[in-house]
Amino acid sequence: MGINYSEVQNHVGKESEAIMAIDKVSKSDIRHWCELIDQDDTPYNEIDWVEKTVPPAMLMVWTMPPLWSPESKAPTAPHELALKVIDDAGYDGAIGIALDQEIFAPVKVDDRLSYTVKLNGVSSDEVQTNMGKGYQVDLEYKISNQTGKMISKQNYSLFKFKILNPVTE
């Protein structure tokens, strides 16, 4: 049982090519974030957008996959391929367990971000937790803006596990 560790190991230490964020950094996305996180519903025309920088905690927003896309995209990046091996072995539960963010420069409205993801590691043995048995996956995100300047480095760990009591109804 467990995952084919050597297959996963092939992808460890490898980094994806630069992936473009789907959206430019937009006033509306920032405002929606502030409304929910800061409970600040100041309308866009009362915000000083020259001064306003993107809340650093929001950076991962621009790395999120779309809800739907007309083009189907097979996994190609090392971390995607490794996660697929883990998913296919039945460890399809996922929960974020740690996020360290380093911020080097502010993000402004209309920036076009891109990012790379490196698979830093996968735990070699199954870990038993309250959620179930699974593996820890460590990813490193480097986010850059359109000038090529790296603006943030983030270490993100997630736990991929077999769901204990799946709803089968």
């Binding site: 809800l67 007309p70 083009e71 189907s72 109804e169």
Partner: protein, 149 residues
């Protein structure tokens, strides 16, 4: 696979032509994302199951903007990007509820009229979206189509 982009020309459309049917799965994600994320509608009956049930509904249900948007999109994508939506006229009947085994909405439309007006080449379409409870949305739309001329 991306769908091919193609335009339908006014000359090629006949009255009583039936558009190919399309079906959408109606689930919690699409109802909640349609309300909050796509149309900025935070009325809790569209995303908060407990709230909706407290108001006498069996579950959350789709907001009007999303229903209108899905049908507008169905028609526009059939006609192609050179078409222009002029009017959407809708009435709503049974709600779109999510269901565990997957509620589906079948969308159909028919060209009911083909005419010229104000220098534009127009078609009128009658359309409907039906779910497993019955008709959810019925309406008519007017679109301007490109010509070969």
């Amino acid at each position: 696979m991306a769908e091919e982009i193609k335009d339908i020309y006014w000359e090629d459309v006949k009255e009583k032509y039936d558009l190919p049917q399309k079906t959408r799965v109606i689930d919690t994600t699409i109802i909640a994302a349609g309300a909050m994320w796509a149309s900025h509608d935070f009325m809790p009956v569209h995303h908060d199951r407990d709230f909706a049930q407290g108001k006498g509904a069996p579950d959350i249900f789709m907001n009007i903007l999303t229903s209108n948007g899905i049908l507008a999109s169905y028609l526009e994508q059939w006609a192609g990007p050179a078409a222009k939506m002029k009017t959407m006229q809708i009435s709503l009947q049974v709600p779109n509820f999510p269901e565990k085994d997957g509620n589906k909405m079948d969308m159909n439309a028919r060209v009911t009229k083909k005419y010229e007006e104000g220098g534009e080449h127009l078609i009128e379409l009658a359309f409907s979206g039906d779910n497993n409870l019955g008709p959810h949305i019925v309406g008519t739309a007017v679109m301007a189509l490109p010509t070969k001329g």
